[in-house]
Amino acid sequence: MQEGNCKMSDDVSIEIMLDHYRSPRNYGNVEGASSQITEHNPLCGDTLHFSIKVESGIIEDIKFVGQGCSISQGAASILTELVKGKSISDAAAISEAEFLSVLGIQLGPNREKCALLSLNALKKCIESLHI
């Protein structure tokens, strides 16, 4: 999205995001998932479904399916790579600011919500493990 309203501090980040959008990693459904969740941003209809498999507190597997803009879908793909193999407590501790800086694209307040949908969905997915 070379000309998007992300203030493109980093063209490379945008290319990475678009690559994830076009070829999403970890796309699908984890078999025998420990937890799964469907979240969407009612304001724009972006939807994400995460399924995770947790063993001894470690995210052994994570997959997503979804529909929405390049930011929401690309970020979701990036997030799966980021947390796979991490402990659920480490994953749950990722702050919004941290995740945005991982993405590396400057977003306005309205599109930040797209980028953060995946992080919030994952956190809810982890929370629901304990219920």
Partner: protein
Amino acid sequence: MSVNPELLKKDFPIFENNPGLVYLDNAATTQKPASVIRAVSNYYSTVNSNVHRGVYRISEEATELYENSRRKVSEFIGSSDPAQIVFLRNTTEAINLLSYTLGRKLKKGDEILLTEMEHHSNLIPWFFLREAGIVIRYARMKEDFTLDYEDFMNKLNPRTAIASFTHVSNVLGTINNVRELSRMCSENGTTSIVDAAQSVPHMPVDVSRIGCDYLAFSGHKMLAPAGIGVLYGRKNLLEEMPPFLGGGEMIGEVTYDGSTWAKVPWKFEAGTQNVEGAIGLSAAIDYLRSIGMDSVRNHERSMLDHILKIMHTVDDIKQFGPLDLNKRGGIFSFNIGDVKPFDLLSQATTKFAISHSIHPHDLAAFLDGRNIAIRSGHHCAMPLMGRIGVASTARISPYIYNDESELDLFFESLSACRKAIAR
């Protein structure tokens, strides 16, 4: 007179401060001409004060300006009496006022007839009444994106207490024949309400010709400030209604034990009013009148004509709205490829499939990079999105300051976007 966008644009300071800005989101809100901005700041700088009560010069003058604005609105929409014009915040508040006050008289099993193409503002206020056992029904939209009048007629029955319908759909652009709908309602003894948020700013609207009972619109969509909107209601109906908000200005006499109400329209204007908003709206009407509402309508019609002619330069484009220019306001909703609603089952079981669709948000973001402002999303009409089988759409809605060259630029940019981000 025909509209000269290039000339008019000079009246709008935002374009001077944002050179090259192509603003195509006028169905959401419009820009403000210098004359409106000036009317508001002049008010602050000369006679700003509380209206109706002050026994001093600036308050008398402010009162005159406020009530003159009411007269101007009244004339502008063909109302026979300024007392039929209630100043509120916006269309949304107007429809809520009606649902709260008219809703009180409804009984379990009474029906409210809406259409499938309503904005949330003409849905949610009525949903509230479901708690009391009121039934909501929807007149269907046809395949050509126009309203199914027969279905509307069939759904009008002795229990239909209220029918509320949009004049122009903010998604499809569809112009409904509200005169015909109001007539059907009146024959059925049903109260008729017109959501005119997308018509009053864009075409001549005459309530006496339409014959509806109520009609609502917002200032900010017609060059005026936000925070000011209008509810038109037949005087006898307004007089029968209980008040909505209670407070200063709307009372007759108050004791610790009770209160009587002021005459209409003041009965519905509780608390300190947005005087500057009313004055700004009056200035906006002056501006629109100097162009002529027929000319505004003709300009938008020719813009839409141009759009429908050149849209196919963009591959995979799909548009949502009637193709008959007589039945369509200047609103163009579209997608590139299929932007389907999410469906977990189909999506999770099939492997990720490359599609040619571009999500409307990505379109809007890309176009923003070229200084073109368009809307993307559900346009506060989520049920309609489901009805037309999409998750969301992109939308452009030109106004008097837009010209064909901007539309050409827009379509060129769409094609460029398709190349850049289709997957």
